[in-house]
């Protein structure tokens, strides 16, 4: 947490948790997909589901899916902009289990047909917590630079990645490793103090057992 988490963000109203936080979660889906989103199914839970109409949570999420930032005044008209661009964005309400009251599940499909699902909670003041990516449990806030590395659950996979980061003077603030099952697909979520440039990402991508690398910068 830093000063601009509580004096900020600069944002389009009316609600930091229901508008700005919602934009940020949707942006995570857009960034992970690394391409324009063609269609998306969105399920709003709890307070999101109860009050989304009044807070413009639907407009916020649709804006975020199109890559708008929290202070982008186009959020006001995002539903119309999406319609005109021929996007298929469906907003529904539903129950997502024992999660934070402001939680949303986004299943998005990019122009190439690539899909991603993101479960995220808006935890107050525009701050968010991403809880699941593609069904795998994660937990990160977007307060640091984030690397999401999909890899095979094999010995040494983590050491190779941390070695590369260390040699490039990139300090790890928080790191978590999750796997679907032993020997299966796993995800490393690494939050770093410094941004990670294209060269480092490509070096990691070139290593054995690494399936995909995504860099997210929400700062």
């Amino acid at each position: 947490m830093h000063v601009f988490d509580v004096i900020g963000p600069v944002m389009v109203g009316p609600s930091s948790s229901h508008t700005a936080g919602a934009v940020r979660i949707a942006r995570v889906a857009r960034i992970i997909l690394q391409e324009e989103i063609k269609k998306a199914k969105v399920i709003l839970h709890g307070s999101f589901a109860e009050t989304y109409m009044g807070h413009g949570t639907d407009r916020a999420i649709i804006g975020g899916l199109m890559g708008f930032s929290t202070d982008d005044i186009r959020i006001r008209d995002s539903i119309k902009i999406a319609e005109e661009a021929g996007k298929e964005f469906n907003i529904e309400t539903g129950f997502l289990g024992d999660v934070h009251p402001n939680t949303v599940l986004i299943e998005a499909e990019g122009m190439s047909g690539r899909v991603v699902s993101v479960l995220g909670s808006s935890i107050g003041g525009g701050n968010i917590a991403i809880k699941k990516i593609n069904g795998v449990e994660v937990d990160f806030s977007g307060r640091y630079h984030i690397l999401i590395i999909e890899h095979k659950d094999r010995p040494g996979a983590v050491a190779v990645v941390t070695g590369i980061l260390g040699r490039n003077n990139t300090n790890i603030a928080i790191m978590k490793v999750y796997r679907s099952y032993k020997g299966g697909k796993a995800i490393m979520v690494i939050e770093t103090d410094q941004s990670v440039d294209e060269g480092i990402i490509n070096e990691i991508k070139g290593q054995p057992n690494i399936l995909d690398v995504t860099s997210i910068n929400l700062i």
């Binding site: 988490d5 963000p9 389009v12 307070s47 009050t51 959020i75 103090d193």
Partner: protein, 292 residues
């Protein structure tokens, strides 16, 4: 490095370094974010510009998209200019600005969440009014925002700044406490007095529920911004006179957290209880959703 888990820590470290809380937070954040104090100051200055703009725009904006709000700041400004206000100039002008920013937010305008959008009018109203009316430098008000931020981070870490988690006490209450502490620094008070202002402001808003009519950040949110700003002036005035809070700020924050946990879901931004459950609120909600 500062953990921002206690107001006492801010006071102790500020005294130890012979600094104000704002100076302490500015220098610590520049270390933690690996950026210069000048860059952080500049970013805060940009946010302050957005705050000032939102006051100006809010005094011009019409009704909100729902049609439920708009025009309150203009009415009060008119009354103040006509000399019909009860309070002195600083008090009434603070209310005008708090209403203006909150109304601008409701009309999907661009604001600074401080700490949240629902409570965005309180800090700009208090700090801009004091600066203008007392003829203080813009430099000092931008700096004081770092004191507000220090207090806000402690409240967020120790309790919550989310209405869905802690009710309106966590939003307008927190903003009021942040504004009160910053106002004390702006007017030359000590770090200890700033901590007392934080404690007093938060004590006065303890138990405040989040019950937005039809789920919109309009009724009662806009007028609660005026209340939060007024309450910040009360707390700063008391603290600057040397009045202490018998319950230290950290314990008040802990009490706020526990009150928030005891609050039923219906009173935490779900629009199911409190004012949102009154016959008038239900009628408003029915009309809105029929048309929308």
């Amino acid at each position: 490095m500062i953990t921002y888990k206690s107001v006492q820590e801010l006071v102790d470290k500020a005294l130890e370094a012979g600094k104000s809380i704002s100076e302490l937070v500015l220098s610590d954040q520049s270390l933690q974010l690996e950026t210069t104090e000048e860059d952080l100051y500049r970013k805060m200055e940009e946010n302050f510009e957005v705050m000032k703009q939102s006051i100006e725009e809010g005094l011009k904006c019409g009704r909100s998209p729902s049609g439920l709000s708009g025009g309150a700041a203009q009415k009060l400004r008119f009354a103040v200019n006509a000399g019909q206000n009860i309070g002195g100039r600083i008090f009434s002008e603070t209310l005008v600005k708090a209403l203006a920013v909150a109304e601008y937010n409701a009309s999907t305008g661009k604001i600074v969440a401080a700490p949240t959008a629902g409570s965005c009018g309180i800090i700009p109203a208090v700090l801009v009014t004091i600066t203008e009316e007392k003829g203080l430098s813009e430099d000092s008000v931008v700096k004081s925002l770092f004191a507000a931020a220090g207090i806000g981070m402690v409240i967020a870490n120790r309790a919550s700044i989310s209405g869905a988690e802690g009710g309106c006490q966590a939003e307008c209450g927190s903003a009021s406490a942040m504004a009160a502490a910053a106002a004390v620094e702006l007017l030359g008070g000590s770090p200890y007095q700033a901590a007392n202002a934080c404690a007093i402001a938060l004590k006065n808003t303890l138990g405040l529920v989040c019950d937005p009519v039809a789920g919109l950040v309009e009724i009662p949110c806009i007028k609660r911004n005026a209340m939060g700003a007024a309450n910040a002036l009360v707390a700063a005035e008391l603290a600057l006179a040397g009045i202490e809070s018998a319950i230290p700020a950290d314990e008040v924050i802990d009490a706020m957290k526990s009150v928030g946990e005891l609050m039923p879901e219906s009173l935490k931004e779900t629009a199911k209880g409190g004012l949102a459950a009154t016959p008038s609120a239900k009628r408003i909600a029915r009309q809105l959703f029929k048309n929308g």
